[in-house]
């Protein structure tokens, strides 16, 4: 049970290890708030779709399972989109098109196919929670790096903002440049993150030998 939860965070992290769900990873990580919002949306969809897929795993014909999974996922995505539009309009606005695009986020369909279609409902829920937490943690890490270097702030939730700029007096420091919140900055920050992960992995496997 514990392993099932933790594997999503480290050993089988959806972004760092499986390299799934790149589009939101690059697109919305300009503010920590966005990463947390995206994480909540993915948690909702992933847990419910994993649960649903697991419940019907024995009655779904094999040939049409993918379209069925996609419709289940799309239904939950529509629900979370409507909920967010109603209760968190600001976040809905800034995540924009990437909320409906959770439908084609490979993490969700990937877990339905690889885990939920072969496991019991409870285990599938735990798997979904672990994967969503792993996804959110990586998104948050990237967001913090980009937001700090880009704006000199950390926006945790709405008005809850840590302003690093203020620590250095009134002048905006030159190290804070909006390059890091531009698309080019996204690719480069994530490129370096992957290099760091690869370096750690190389070192570990070297030790095992």
């Amino acid at each position: 049970m514990k392993d099932n939860l933790l594997k999503g965070i480290f050993k089988e992290n959806p972004i760092l290890v499986s390299m799934l769900g790149f589009c939101p990873t690059l697109a919305i990580t300009t503010k920590l708030e966005n990463a947390i919002g995206m994480g909540i949306a993915v948690l909702f969809v992933l847990v419910l779709s994993n649960f649903m897929v697991s419940l019907i795993r024995n009655i779904v014909p094999d040939e049409i399972r993918i379209p069925i999974y996609i419709v289940i996922i799309a239904a939950f995505v529509t629900i979370i989109e409507m909920l967010m539009a109603a209760f968190l309009p600001g976040l809905h606005e800034s995540l924009g098109i990437f909320i409906p695009l959770i439908v084609v986020n490979c993490i969700i369909l990937g877990r339905a196919e690889a885990f939920a279609s072969e496991n019991k409902p409870l285990a599938s829920i735990v798997d979904g929670v672990g994967m969503a937490i792993g996804f959110t943690l990586v998104l948050s890490l990237i967001s913090i790096v980009r937001e700090v270097l880009g704006f000199g702030t950390i926006t945790i939730w709405k008005d809850l903002v840590i302003n690093i700029n203020n620590l250095f007096g009134d002048d905006k420091l030159v190290i804070f440049t909006d390059f890091f919140v531009s698309p080019a900055g996204a690719f480069i920050v994530i490129g370096f993150l992957f290099a760091i992960v690869a370096a750690i992995r190389n070192k570990r496997t070297g030790e095992v030998k």
Partner: protein, 191 residues
Amino acid sequence: MSNVLTWVFSGLLVQNVILARFLGICPFLGVSKKRESAAGMGLAVTFVITLASVVSWLLYTYILVPFEMAYMRTIVFILVIASLVQIIEMFIKKVSPGLYRSLGIYLPLITTNCAILGMATIVTSEQFTFLQTLIFSFASGLGFLLVIYIFSTFRERLDRAPIPKAFKGVPIALIVAGLMALIFSRFAGVA
């Protein structure tokens, strides 16, 4: 006429699906190791993105909106895309086995390419006209083809370049993509 040029230019370069909108990153990284596969994927995406956007636009404007079912958008679009891809696959298989051999393997992957669903969502939520949808989505498809092809030529060379071990593969590819995005961001000033 100047409108048409603006749409083409913004779809192709300024609002490039990959480098400016971050759509379709998975195939961009996954199928760009060789030039032939990048070209095949790019062509398949261009074809499907245009067709799917136009069909989605028609369904949205003439069925979903009049019947007040706009909230069903995501579900309807993903079904349209999945079935379109299936039909195109069967059609190409029947009509041109040669084309099927070169494009066929990329088609199933396209269903979960977020550039397709993303473009269908963009053209309906930004209230494009029919002509604008047609031209903009086609130009965006060509923009995808252009960027994935250029990227694949870089990656073929990166394979042989002396790079630190930790940067080999995806990390260096992402950094190269970042430099490409930097160049493409300059097009914004031109339009």
